[in-house]
């Protein structure tokens, strides 16, 4: 089953360096936390935020099942850290990795905006369909004030009559769905709501297509990301839908972006924390995110070149990305932040330096 392969693959990539929650948070796309960094560190960026509607309970059930099957085992003595068993490795090789990661999933440039964009798109479709069928009242798919407000603005700004609106949005969606794989297009459209035609949930789609819900989620995300990429690159071709997308290109989360702005003004971490009324550890999280995503960010204020070298060497020697193990090996003055920065910098710059064996697996 797809879900088995997916979780086996992720456990393989994480190599027992994080608890199983790390994988859950990755799939959920937990913001401003370890997860963003993990997605770079373990080379699983496409999966970040790929199953944002996943609930913990069903994920745990899945992991327990893999455990019962004997495909995963505890990594050393630490609780909730898992690695693949030999049988698990074998199971994973039986699965075609190209099927595991549909192409569209790798378009992660707009990952921070995709949740919002999708809500806005669904609400636009629902609203315009209701207008087209002269339905004076309907229960909107979401009540999030920021979403309803921006859809309202978008529709007003279009200054088109209802037929034109329907025709425009239909045309844009049609053009966007046409070139993408049929399964993905169907899965995408099945979730859209119109007049007297409420969209299906992924679990309903899974039931009616016989796919497993994880595969449905991933295929849907692949479709969504293809569409967002296409729209971002050809805004003029899709004027209505482009208007639903966030305009800035940065992949930084909103909150990390704000921290970045203050750091550039010359504030220290403590000052930023104070100014933003956030904890220093949150600001540190932002700093790591900035290091990962902003190529021209200079982190030498926080980490000297020698120190960075030393950390990277240690990490390679130990063949781990577990902060605690690395810190134990080094002298006490080195902070966790410095270790995280060093690891972050080196995933970006020298890609393969830290990965070695992982790269090989994914080429299998």
């Amino acid at each position: 089953m797809y879900c088995d392969a997916l979780v086996l693959y992720l456990i393989h990539q994480f190599r027992g360096d994080r608890t199983i929650s790390g994988i859950y948070h990755l799939l959920k796309g937990k913001k401003s936390s370890q997860s963003v960094q993990d997605s770079y560190l373990f080379h699983v960026k496409p999966f970040f935020h790929s199953c944002d509607d996943l609930d913990r309970h069903s994920f745990q059930t899945l992991v327990e099942r893999l455990n019962v099957c004997g495909w995963i085992q505890s990594a050393g003595s630490e609780q909730m850290h898992f690695i693949l068993s030999t049988e698990g490795e074998r199971q994973l090789t039986r699965f075609d990795l190209n099927k595991l990661i549909p192409d569209g999933l790798c378009n992660t440039d707009q990952v921070n905006d995709e949740g919002n964009f999708w809500l806005k798109l669904q609400l636009s479709v629902q609203t315009i369909s209701a207008l087209q069928y002269h339905q004076s009242a309907f229960l909107p798919i979401t009540r999030q004030p920021s979403v309803t407000e921006s859809v309202r603005k978008r529709i007003m700004k279009a200054s088109l009559n209802r037929d034109q609106l329907a025709s425009q949005l239909h045309h844009e969606l049609h053009q966007l769905l046409l070139p993408i794989p049929l399964t993905e297009a169907d899965l995408f459209a099945a979730q859209l709501t119109g007049f007297r035609m409420t969209g299906l949930t992924t679990s309903q789609i899974a039931d009616s297509t016989g796919k497993d819900p994880y595969e449905c989620r991933i295929l849907f995300k692949s479709a969504l990301r293809r569409i967002m990429k296409e729209v971002a690159e050809h805004k003029a071709t899709y004027p209505f839908i482009a208007g639903l997308m966030k305009q800035t290109a940065s992949t930084l989360s909103l909150t990390a972006g704000e921290t970045f702005h203050l750091l550039k003004e010359g504030l220290s971490l403590q000052q930023v924390a104070k100014r933003r009324n956030l904890s220093v550890s949150t600001i540190e999280d932002h700093l790591v995110e900035i290091t990962l995503k902003e190529r021209n960010f200079n982190s030498s204020d926080f980490l000297s070149h020698e120190l960075e070298q030393q950390i990277v060497e240690t990490a390679n020697q130990l063949n781990t990305r577990q902060l605690k193990s690395i810190k134990n090996q080094l002298h006490d003055e080195i902070s966790y932040l410095q270790i995280r920065l060093a690891l972050a910098k080196n995933t970006v710059q020298k890609g393969s330096l830290l990965i070695g064996e992982n790269e090989e697996t994914s080429k299998r």
Binding site: V125, L139, H170, D186, G194
Partner: protein
């Protein structure tokens, strides 16, 4: 003088009936509605108790079209508010708005800028505490001050809202407009609280029976879960739908939905509070749009649901109170046609409500720890959402977290948080005792050997109607064949287009457009 009064009353009746016909498309008022509406139109303070599904909205909607000014409706539940706004919009009313915590600041400004043009304004009690909003409302003419779910004002009630305690004072600030307090269920104690706390002097009271005569009541005793599921499947195959199955846990809603779909091929979905909000909304809309035959859900479903043709309500697990039970079965057959309510009772199900009651309150350890952490500054109150979510992270249940919030917020300034520990315990014990008492009433209902209807009417101190309905309850005997589905009612294929998976077809229907010519495919796309 008396004649003139009578004359005026007749005229109001005539005008109210005209609005009923023209705006709402009904020929006749339902039982009790006319008296309530007339009292309201004559400017009296009114307390009305109407059963769930008894048409209480109409009691303020009609006056909205006959009185000058804005009808202000205080409503504690967002979903209910949304449904009420929607109901008015769908009859073409455009001057209706809502103010609640979910409103975007821009929308709030728009509403405040056009207050005087509104015919109906729904507002949450929290919003009413804001001074800007109150000042703006004080400037317009409020024709009627409606308090929905009025039982929230009473500490004896099942969902007490501290914000409701300020409503009398707020009403004075608005120039003391006439007040209409409505609720579905309130026993004598709660009724007294409502009248006193809202300061309804010389109030005109209309108390309608909680009884819904068109709903037949069945209690089915079973020994095991397997037996229960078998019974249920048999029932579903032979009973008119759509229906709702209430379960005590999220897990059960998913398992049952899956089983019933496989076994009977019905269009069934599950619904519970652990789902993604958008998915929850989709399932709700599918049910309303008749895309589903059956919904397996927890009690998270149903508030603000207005679907008149639900024919079957099953309780796979019984609820904790008679009140909740009546409210949940009250969702059946609001159109007045026959409906069926079946509750399964297995001895082992008693764990669920007892567990709920315990889960409603913090245990000693959690309470003690939270209060100490507040004293030490490890936990801060901030606003309600922040406080509740930081307790949730500490593993406290949501209702327990809300309880703690309610208590610590009212702590006297000069003492420590820990000093209110004993007082909190006392309140917990008191409220728990009430809930356990409610539970035992429910249990007695399930084990009663007499007429079910007679039983609950007695609970609400009501007399039995002179004549029993034809299909009353399992004790009086009912004809199951009266609830049998006919071929045309279920499994109807024309309603299935929600299931269309072909994307081109789906888009055509959504946008009500013809087929689109396929443009050349961009070849650069991978």
């Amino acid at each position: 003088m008396v004649r003139m009064k009578k004359h005026r009353r007749d005229e109001w009746i005539h005008r109210a009936q005209t609005v009923l016909k023209e705006k709402f498309g009904h020929d006749q008022f339902r039982c009790g509605q006319q008296e309530i509406i007339l009292d309201v139109l004559e400017g009296k303070d009114v307390f009305a108790m109407l059963p769930t599904g008894g048409g209480k909205s109409l009691c303020y909607q009609i006056p909205g079209y006959l009185l000058n000014g804005t009808v202000l409706i205080v409503s504690p539940l967002l979903s209910l508010m949304e449904d009420q706004v929607n109901a008015l919009r769908s009859i073409g009313e455009t001057n209706v708005r809502a103010l609640n915590g979910l409103i975007h600041p821009h929308e709030r400004s728009r509403v405040l800028a056009h207050l005087s043009e509104l015919r109906f304004l729904f507002i949450s009690p929290e919003m009413l505490r804001g001074s800007t909003i109150r000042a703006a409302l004080a400037k317009i003419t409020i024709s009627l001050f409606v308090i929905d779910e009025a039982h929230c004002v009473s500490q004896w009630g099942h969902d007490f809202r501290p914000d409701y305690l300020h409503l009398a004072e707020i009403r004075t600030q608005f120039g003391h407009p006439p007040c209409l307090a409505v609720t579905a269920t309130a026993d004598e104690r709660v009724r007294e609280d409502i009248v006193r706390s809202l300061e309804l002097h010389h109030v005109s009271q209309t108390l309608m029976s909680v009884d819904r005569a068109n709903i037949a009541l069945v209690v089915q005793r079973v020994a095991t879960n397997d037996e229960k599921v078998d019974h249920l499947c048999h029932l579903l195959e032979n009973t008119r739908l759509p229906g709702i199955i209430y379960c005590a846990s999220r897990d059960w809603t998913e398992r049952l939905a899956d089983y019933v779909r496989r076994k009977l091929g019905l269009r069934v979905a599950y619904y519970h509070g652990g789902m993604d909000p958008v998915d929850r909304r989709k399932i709700q809309n599918q049910f309303l749009d008749s895309q589903l035959d059956l919904l397996c859900c927890t009690n998270a479903f149903g508030m603000g649901i207005n679907k008149p043709d639900i024919r079957l309500i099953v309780h796979f697990h019984f609820p904790a109170t008679m009140n909740a039970y009546l409210q949940e079965i009250g969702r059946a057959s609001r159109d007045g046609k026959p409906g069926l309510a079946v509750v399964y009772y297995a001895k082992q199900d008693e764990q669920y409500p007892e567990g709920f009651i315990d889960g409603n309150f913090p245990d000693d350890e959690i309470l003690h720890r939270s209060l100490s952490e507040l004293d030490q500054g490890l936990l801060t109150i901030g606003n309600k959402e922040q406080f509740v979510s930081s307790l949730l992270e500490r593993g406290v249940s949501e209702s327990a977290a809300r309880f703690i919030y309610e208590k610590v917020q009212n702590k006297p300034i000069h003492c420590t948080y820990l000093s209110i520990f004993d007082q909190c315990k006392a309140v917990i014990n008191k409220r728990k005792a009430i809930q356990l008492q409610d539970l035992s009433v429910m249990r007695n209902y399930l084990t009663s050997t007499n007429c079910r209807r007679a039983f609950y009417l007695k609970v609400y101190h009501e007399h039995q109607p002179a004549q029993k309905p034809h299909n009353c309850c399992d004790r009086c005997g009912i004809e199951f064949s009266d609830f049998r589905q006919t071929e045309s009612t279920n499994k109807n294929d024309t309603e299935r287009h929600g299931q269309i998976l072909d994307w081109k077809k789906r888009l055509q229907i959504i946008f009500k457009e013809g087929e689109r010519a396929d443009a050349p495919i961009r070849n650069k796309r991978v």
